[in-house]
Each structure stands twice: as C-alpha cells, then as structure tokens.
C-alpha cells in the first residue's frame, strides 16, 4: 500500500515495535507466572499449615494465636498420641485390603467384559454395554439403602465382601477397557484361534499383556476412589476393628468433644501420606488418568 521510499524510515520503527512487543510479552509472562505462583501458595498453604501444626505440641489443646507455621514446641508426641488413640496403622491396612480386593475384582470384571464386548462381539454384547453404561447414571446414593439391606440379609455387613461384590459392576472400567481394546487389532485373536488356542488362552496370552496401560489407569482411579470413600464404609462397617482409614479418622474427629488440633492434624497428615507419596511418584500419570477419565465420560 505505502510507497517504497518510506521503507527506510519504517524499518527502524518496525524493529522498535517488535522489540517493545517482545518486551511486553516477557513482562506479561512474568506477571502470569507471578499470578499463578500466588494461586499456588493459596492451594498449598492448607497443607503446610496442617503438616507444621501436626508437629506442634504446643497446639495440642487449642489452636495457637497468632497462627504460626513454625511449631513452637516441635515434637513427634502428637503423632504418638494420635497413633495410640486411633489405631491408624490398622485402619490403613484395612483400607489397603479393601482397595486391593476391590481393584482385583473390578479390574477382572471390567477387563473380561470389555474384551468380550470389543472383540468377541457375542450376541447381545451391545445390550450389555448399554446396560453397563446406563448404570453409571444411577447415583450410588439412590441404591445405597437396598444395597445395605441386601448385605444385611446375606449377613455380609461388617465384612469386606460388602465392598468386593459391588465392585463386579465397574461399568466405567468396562467402558475404558472396551475403548482401549477396540484399538488393538482383531487379527491377533483370529490368528491364534486358527492355531487352536482357546478363547481364554488368547485373551490371557495375547491381549492381557497389551492391556497393562489401561489396567494401570484403572488401578489408580479405583485406589483413590476406595481410599477416599466414606459413605459406604460408614453404612457397611460397624465394628471399629474393621474401619477403613477415612471412617476411622472421621469417627475420631466426629466423636471428639475437644478440638485437639495438633493431634488431629497428625492423624489427618498420616492418613494422607500414602496418597501423597503415590502422587509424588506418579503425578503425571495420575493427572493423565483422571483427565482421561473425565474426557472419556
């Protein structure tokens, strides 16, 4: 548009403009990082306060004023008190047992059914898939009372069967497994069948090893769900010796008249340690699994 003789004058101006744009972009980047850092502090402060207070023997009876982040009387007595008053180790072992059982049952059910729907395409497989997916629409809160009464009738309340059996219906896992196995070639199965392998052998030898990534995803999702659940343990478990960690922790704070800040913080911190360790090591994987589960839904 403009004539060529102004080019000489324009060039330095343009350079200046590019330079200032670059600078403003850099400043913008810094401001952005700063805002995000401030937000991160807000996200993390509750954890820091919790961890620090959990070592503060001076805060065992009342919350200290002014609030402090550095323990005044640094001591592990808070943890000792928490662990003697609440059988934390027992609860955590209980939670672990429940989690492992639920993971085994639900992954078994999900993977077999996902494979059958994806590769065997048996008569009515579409119906099974639709039925499974529609059960995902039913909130647990609606079925919890009949489920409770059902286990009561079977005399399986207050036992971990109340957790293992419902794990058979891990519809979301079936969906994940089916979507994953859909991407694997079906020719593998056909070839192996022609070679005389049984369907079970084909599944176990050929497809199962290929499904490890999706199994890992399901394991993480199920572990977090079981470890953090409260409502069903609250209904299904009655004897304190069988409490899961969340139920034990909740019951202790629920029935506690006095606040006991640092002791409760110690117990809470301890209850988080397994999950936090898992998160530190598998952070990217966990985030990806949960994002995947969100998007797939």
């Amino acid at each position: 548009m403009t004539t060529t003789f102004t080019e000489k004058k324009v060039m330095p101006k343009l350079q200046k403009k590019v330079k200032s744009q670059k600078r403003s972009k850099r400043i913008g980047n810094w401001i952005l990082t700063l805002i995000l850092l401030l937000g991160s502090i807000v996200m993390v402060i509750p954890f820091i306060w919790m961890a620090m207070t959990s070592f503060d023997w001076g805060a065992r009876l009342t919350i200290p004023f002014p609030p402090r982040f550095w323990p005044k009387e640094f001591s592990t007595m808070t943890y000792q008190t928490a662990f003697t008053n609440i059988p934390m180790i027992k609860y955590m072992v209980n939670s672990l047992i429940v989690a492992v059982g639920v993971i085994l049952v639900s992954l078994f059910s999900a993977l077999f059914s996902g494979y059958a729907i994806s590769k065997l395409k048996f008569k009515g497989s579409g119906i099974v898939l639709v039925a499974a997916l529609s059960t995902m629409m039913i909130p647990f809160e609606v079925t919890m009372i009949p489920q409770y009464l059902l286990f009561d009738k079977m005399h399986l309340l207050d036992s971990y069967w109340a957790f293992y059996l419902p794990a058979l219906n891990y519809a979301f896992g079936t969906f994940l497994a089916k979507a994953f196995i859909d991407q694997l070639p079906g020719t593998l199965r056909e070839a192996a069948i022609i070679d005389g392998a049984s369907e079970l052998k084909v599944f176990l030898r050929v497809y199962l090893p290929l499904c490890i990534p999706i199994l890992a995803t399901m394991t993480i999702l199920q572990f977090l769900a079981v470890w953090n659940d409260l409502l069903w343990p609250l209904l299904a478990l009655q004897s304190p010796a069988k409490y899961t960690i969340q139920l034990g922790l909740a019951m202790f704070t629920y029935n506690q008249g006095t606040p006991l800040p640092s002791v409760i913080m110690a117990a809470t911190t301890a209850s988080l340690i397994p999950v936090i360790i898992l998160y530190l090591f598998l952070q990217r994987f966990i985030v990806e699994s949960i994002a995947l589960s969100g998007i797939k839904q």
Binding site: P46, F47, I63, P67, S113, F122, A167, T187
Partner: protein, 315 residues
Amino acid sequence: MARRSQSSLSVEPTKLKLPKQKKKLTKKDMAGYLFSAPLIVGIVGFALYPMIAALIMSFKKSGGLLGKAWVGFQNYSYVLTDKAFWQAIYNTFYMGILSVILGVILSFILASLIYNARPRWRNFFKGIYFLPNVVSLVATSILFTFLFYPSHEGLLNYVLGWFGVKPLGWFSDPSFSRVSIVLMTLWGMLGYNTIIFLAALTSVPRDLYEAAEVDGASWFHKWWYITIPYLRSIIMFMVIIGTINGMKRFTDVWLIGGTAGNPAGTLMTGVLYIYRNGFLANQMGIATAASYILFIIILILTILMMRFNRKSNFD
C-alpha cells in the same frame, strides 16, 4: 500374509453351518457370555436389583426389606410436604450451583493462564493445583474446620484481620456456612476442572489462532471467539458432572454440620436427609422415596443440560 489367507479360509466352513447357527450359540458367543458374566452379575445384583427394590420399598411402610404393607404414595407425599426436605434440596442446589459456576469460571481462567505459561512452569502448576484433588473429603473437611475456625484464632480470620475484617463465623454462621462449603469445594475440585480444560485447550487447532493473529485479533478476541466456542462441549460436561456431584453432597456436610446439618439446618443436603431418615430414624420407606425423588431431579437436570448442549451445538 499367510495368516490372513488362513483366516479368510476359515470363513467358509462357518458359512456352511449357517442354518444351524441361528438356533445354537457359537463358541464365541458362549465365551462372550462367560467373560461378561461377572459384569452381568454386578449389574443385576448391584444396580438393577437395588433400583427395583428401592422403588418397591418407597411404596411400602418403613422398615425391613420387602414384605411390609403397601402404603401407596404416602412416603412420597410425606417427603414432598416435609419442609426439611425442601430446605435440604434448596441447600443442595445453593451449594451445587454456586460451586459449579464459580468452579467452571475460575478453572477456565486458571487453565488459560497455565496454558500460556512457559512449558517449564506448566507441569509444576499442574501438579500443584491438582494436588487437593487426591486428598480425601474427610481430610479436607477436618483441615478446613481449623482453617475456617470461627474465632480470631482461625488462619483465614487472622489474615482477614489484617484488612480490618472482624472474625467471620464461616461454618458456624448460618449465613456463611454454605458459602464456606463452596469455598472448600473450590479448593478441592479446581485442579480437576483445570486439568480437563488444559487437555481440551491443547486440542484447539493452532492455525485458528494464527489466522486470527494475521487478522489482527487481540488475545481477548482470540479467547472469546475461538477458545470458548471450541470448548463449549467440555464446559457443558463440567457443568453436568459438577451438578451431579453437587447433588450427591454428603461427606463434607456430615462431618462439618453433623446429621442435623448445622448451623440452623443450612448444611442439610438431600443425601444427608436420606441418611438421617434411613439410618438414624430407621424410616427406610421415606428414605427410599426421598432418594427416588433426588434421582429424578438429577436425571431431569442431566437430560435438560444435554438437550441444551445439543441444541447450542447446532447453531
């Protein structure tokens, strides 16, 4: 290659048997049923049966599983005329809608910010903001009862004190309790939404932005005209999931407000109402009727939102 020809060969014998197959199930079908048996047992035993049993129970006199006198719609009319139930539904909606709206807006802004941060920082921020999501609701609730301590000792009240704000009641003041729960929920779920938004943001085609840049669009225009329309279905998904989860609120309100939903019943939610009637008052008929009403509310909400989403996608 050799295998492929083999498999095409194998088609012929099965074709020959076709008339027989119609009556009989093939080996493949049998294997399929066997493989899906655990799932089918699970669906029938722990979804279908409880749904039907709950429906039957809701029309029967309270107590016990089946085998009690029919009472028609009595349980439903009790629930629907119970002021406490409507209060619970109101509270549930109040907290649910507020946390969904704030949660989606904040996490969307947050995701946009993280997306534009340097790659080196991006993963760090992802990790930090997501951390509360793996923490149990029990731990979160216990922690926040201390952070939101109603006197000046509470950390949040202390910080607000610097700005001359008098100590707020947070969980103990009926006019603040629901908002406090929302704040706590936001802290816990922000990371989840953000991660999903981030995944969606990376799927927006880059050339759209480049084309817009050539046309001289500002960052706001790009955000408003490209990013938001592109993410509409994800936003809708988040609203649906957030609403459903909001309708199922129990753990935090039970730990903080007790079974009465204190203070002044402001933390009474739908599920807490069900729990209270079913397991404390042993009124299973009323509780199942209430749970069916809650289920229908959730179902209607979900269908409405999906409809709305489909419609807006056609525009």
